[in-house]
Symmetry: D2
């Protein structure tokens, strides 16, 4: 068996299908897509890629399947899905997901297309595997697909530990050995065995702390918003969305610097916008929280207009309402399968915490920050008595 | 400067006072007291001692003092207190604390006596330090003593990380670098700077997970109850409590085997009692939860009587009502110092979780477990409809 | 499958034989024997035991067997031997080996006796395994016994990594994943596959650095010599050697303090003798290097006599001539199985290095060090021009 | 003080000069230059960059200076040099060094130019530091410059540990805590204090093992040779060398794909040439070992001609004769400063080992490998009886 040395899981053995899939251009491209996109601008050691992450997910899924006693054809499809689950990502991963969806009108089914028309698809077929079935497992969140994408999936187990290893922030270091040992497959669902409410909670807590300290760090959010907007301009400027979607990070970085220099150069050199507004949920009117993409753009223009600055100097960043996927993981309590949220008081508390941490961001170059802050407060009707809670001193 | 190599903090530099204190018999005794007493019967790598833990607390307290810009005489006393904070412990640490207190009638002031009449006390004086002031800092929970014993103390920061390193359970691995960097000293209290609600919560969460998975593991609780009872018999059998209190683990282990063999040999060979009852709070009458030590012993005799087994075959283990010390740590929120429990929704949830995890334990040799379970249900009037929730199958 | 959490290898799964063996008194006793005996007096975190080490050796041997495709009865015997390989050790492991051998006249065959008359032996038989065959594998250094005790054995792989983890000295951290993947079993011998001269060398280098920095640290050697001498007096004083051999560390520590207090109390409180002489090979006459045990004792008396100090105040410590077992490990080079020493120039250099590091030690209480140094130089005829090379300033 | 979280050293505190230097375009560019260039094609987690490495070198140099008691202006210049030591690197670091030197005719003095004409230079001056003095310290290998570039420099200490962390190969994990504690500054040279021959050797051994297992892995060498040749063609094709030298990795990767696709696409997709020849020193005529760059190119054309393949299908890779810089590190032995090679037998052995590992490589696309191997054997007059030692089966 071929093996790859990994800094997180040590040697990862590849079955023959995986060994061939790794050599395809679709998979090799993942070498050039960072796992944490703009987080590296805050945590400079976080340069790990979707390539090694995908190997890690494959590794943990393989171990889980072997622990569950599942093998043969079924297991082979799940392992392939685990390995390939990220090949549909655009450059800079989640950061360009929305843009690609809006422009292509596709929702998630990219992986189907990709496996239907790619070297990876051919490799699957040459080993007697069905690309469509693999694609379903990636999309699915059903049956064994839950091991690839579900509340207790190998994706989450790998990225939490890997992101901790590379950022240096320890909170993602979950006990995946235990999670896998305690997995059961009951009536078509992955569940944790009796006595594992804490095991399930540990996953939730690790995510919550990594969200707060790493994934949603304001510097990463600012850079992310700049990258998104710059990408949008690139596409508006004529770059076909299909071509855009198949870029890797380095392609996008070069394209942005050359074709959208006002943002591209800043991203490359970490010369970032600053927070003009950073407002918690209680001072933001409900309609602002629900702004559509088009309305956000319109608001930016309005703010720029009032502040009398160039339109491209204002970025409005409205995150989605918070939710916690892991809260629906299944665990056996007193012999009955329950959703974690039904049995753990922590779930509710973490939901509140997520709400507490939600922030509306408005970003601008340092020298026009004050004007933009004032204009945004005006446009968004931010509660004036909360003024000291949302401006950044 | 002398330095000691530590597996957790790498090199720990010792100032001249510390270097001399380390050589005293009082401190060297800590080499023979395990940090986690009976937890090693569950996690066999957890053999670390109060000796290295005390060096770790000294190290983190020194770094915190230097970060806070506190030096001179004040800092010297705090560093000494950090180093010596555990020298008052009896054998097997917390496991024998209650027994020693009941028998000596002392509450915590042992450290005073110890520093007043010991080589360590002489060493302090020879360096111009005041043993009484050091003792106050250990006891204190006030002013800079909070660094030794408080909600944000170096003790907690060290043991969480160290216990994680040695058990292999990752959840204690907090970010002490960040905790120390964000410490401030305001109006006589240690607080965390603005923007650190999560930092404070991370300490709480680490403790909660380590409690559930490590510190209160049922096997460790059974062995702990056996050890406590055996120690009690040893003292009842004539061993002076002062002599008992100055034993180290190896002394106690030998003494128990020789003088209380029915329990001592079992502890040494990990031939433990089993759970006859393991009942959550909701099936246990309120008066049982509040049993005094004497009432617990009486209940054991009554259960043994009904079950018709030898009195020493029944151990009743009623843990205290749960509480979360870290919930009162101070953190600056919007410019105002707040208690964590006032600002974090997690605190309430963790309190509920602690309640959910509380268990009344009744332990007995494997061969009389059923009889003891039935008798205990009778004596304690355990809710019959909850029968399947408290017997262990 | 039962599993144990280990701080080095994470979860270790136990087969049914191993699970039963772990519960025997012979194996539980290993909880009370430290892996590195007196090294903990230098590296205070090094409190790990032969219990967890034995589990680790079992784990690595199991993985190697599975990698080599060896299963069934043969593998079962090797796994049992790996788990039990240390149960014959006396208290403080290697430190009391010589004493036990001299007194019992036995050489290595202890494990036979032990497995013939023990609960562990019964457990083996109850699972259809042959205790004598297991004992042979522990002693053997032949065939698959090489996995338990050989140049490329699981014992070495585990202890290097484990000692590094617990001392904090990184040099033992070898790549056991690679060592195991590259193992082959050819004509009754374990060999490393083509292209692995460096893999073999890495084992050698790790041992050499750990020898110099950890295993032979002078403070550990002094404490070891004190312990050995104290044990000798204990046995001379009437403790039956069979009883001595079955003690664990805590028993010995208590017995020494009570019955050989002049050394026992010092060991317990780390109040150690100091180096009076620390002489390299080139200043020590050849006959001194070859002193027998009886001659060493006679020399101590002579030195004490000349120095006019109590006889028990002089300890002479003559280590064996250095050798490097790993140098004979087998590796395939250009298709031919070779001994590492035939193909690696490092082996010769490391042999020289070991010679360079060899030291004759004479130890004494601090206050009589000078007198003892002078007398020892006289008795041993230490080269006078080398005077500044062997006294410790 | 500003601090950056690092996965290797945890928090790195930045003094005000460093904080400003980090924000310059010259330093930010290092985010886009991988530390190990093509090694990531073998060890996929090795994606760390010169940015975080430079922070690490700054950190270790700061600690060493503080340990040596050196501060003020002198220390400030050394710290700045440690931080900036890599800003002169071209894309893909060492891989393009030769090309840049040949084309610009410069040798090392790039850093002078850079600091003379850059934002980083201005920042230095604004803080009262002298850019020329900083440049000298980077180049120097003299005085305190030895801390930046010398046998015991912070550069080496950081990269060994960091490369181990990111590749997963443990052998680079040296004990930098000890190295720094044992540093002394004597008569203008960095030396290790008495008793540290092993400490010095450990550095040597770590490098030797990392060389064999990581840095000179054949897959990395093949990709490196492809990258070098492709870069050469890019420059021959008209890209000004000054522009080339200021590229970052992503720029080069895009440029190669677009302008030298026959190699660029292969590098990006890890579709690499294979070894046609891999010959040890003893089968390679001495004049081949000494081939100049121009002669190497001529040999490639000759081989291609004989093999009847396209000229670009042959890559000849002649590494320099091996040497070991660390062998000249200084260490105090018996009170006298000595070079390590004068006192350690390991140095000679490692030199031999390096010679043993030297390989002449000739690489070609898989489908013409045999023809190229035969032609190369002919052109280079490779010893025919060694045939089975240099072809790769």
């Amino acid at each position: 068996m071929t093996a790859v040395k990994d800094s997180v899981h040590d040697y990862i053995s590849l079955d023959p299908v995986a060994a061939d899939l790794v050599d395809t251009p679709e998979f090799q491209r993942l070498r050039h897509i960072k796992q944490l996109s703009t987080v590296r601008l805050v945590y400079p050691s976080a340069n790990h890629t979707r390539f090694e992450h995908s190997l890690g997910v494959y590794h943990l899924a393989s171990r889980a399947l072997s622990h569950l006693g599942i093998d043969g054809d079924r297991a082979a499809h799940v392992r392939a899905a685990a390995l390939l689950h990220d090949i549909g990502h655009g450059p800079y991963g989640h950061q360009t997901e929305d843009l690609i969806r809006r422009r292509t009108g596709r929702d998630h089914d990219e992986i189907d297309d990709l496996l239907g028309n790619s070297v990876a698809g051919e490799v699957l077929e040459s080993h007697g595997l069905d690309p469509a079935r693999v694609a379903d497992l990636v999309d699915g969140n059903a049956g064994l697909g839950q091991l690839v994408s579900g509340e207790l999936d190998a994706d989450r187990m790998d990225y939490l530990v890997r992101d901790a290893h590379h950022t240096g922030v320890p909170y993602g270091t979950i006990d995946h050995g235990r999670l896998i040992r305690e997995l059961r497959y009951r009536e078509g669902n992955l569940v944790l065995a009796e006595g594992n409410v804490q095991t399930a909670e540990s996953l939730l807590l690790a995510r919550a702390l990594m969200n707060a300290i790493v994934y949603r760090h304001h510097v990463s959010r600012i850079a992310g918003a700049m990258l998104e907007r710059a990408s949008e301009r690139l596409v508006e400027d004529g770059l076909p969305i299909e071509e855009f979607a198949r870029m890797a990070d380095h392609d996008l970085l070069v394209a942005l610097r050359e074709r959208v220099p006002e943002l591209g150069e800043r991203i490359e050199r970490r010369n970032l916008y600053k927070r003009a507004v950073w407002a918690p949920l209680e001072v933001v009117p409900a309609d602002v929280v629900e702004l559509t993409h088009a309305e956000t753009r319109a608001a930016e223009r309005e703010i720029a207009d009032i502040a009398d600055v160039a339109p491209k100097s204002v970025l409005v960043d409205v995150p989605p309402r918070p939710g916690i996927k892991e809260s629906r993981s299944r665990v056996v309590v007193n012999g009955v399968v329950q959703r974690l949220e039904e049995t753990s008081e922590l779930v509710g508390a973490l939901r509140s915490t997520e709400r507490t941490q939600w922030r509306l961001g408005v970003y601008a170059p340092d020298d026009v920050r004050d004007e933009v802050a004032a204009a945004a407060a005006d446009v968004f009707d931010l509660s004036p008595h909360g003024i000291d809670r949302w401006t950044v001193l």
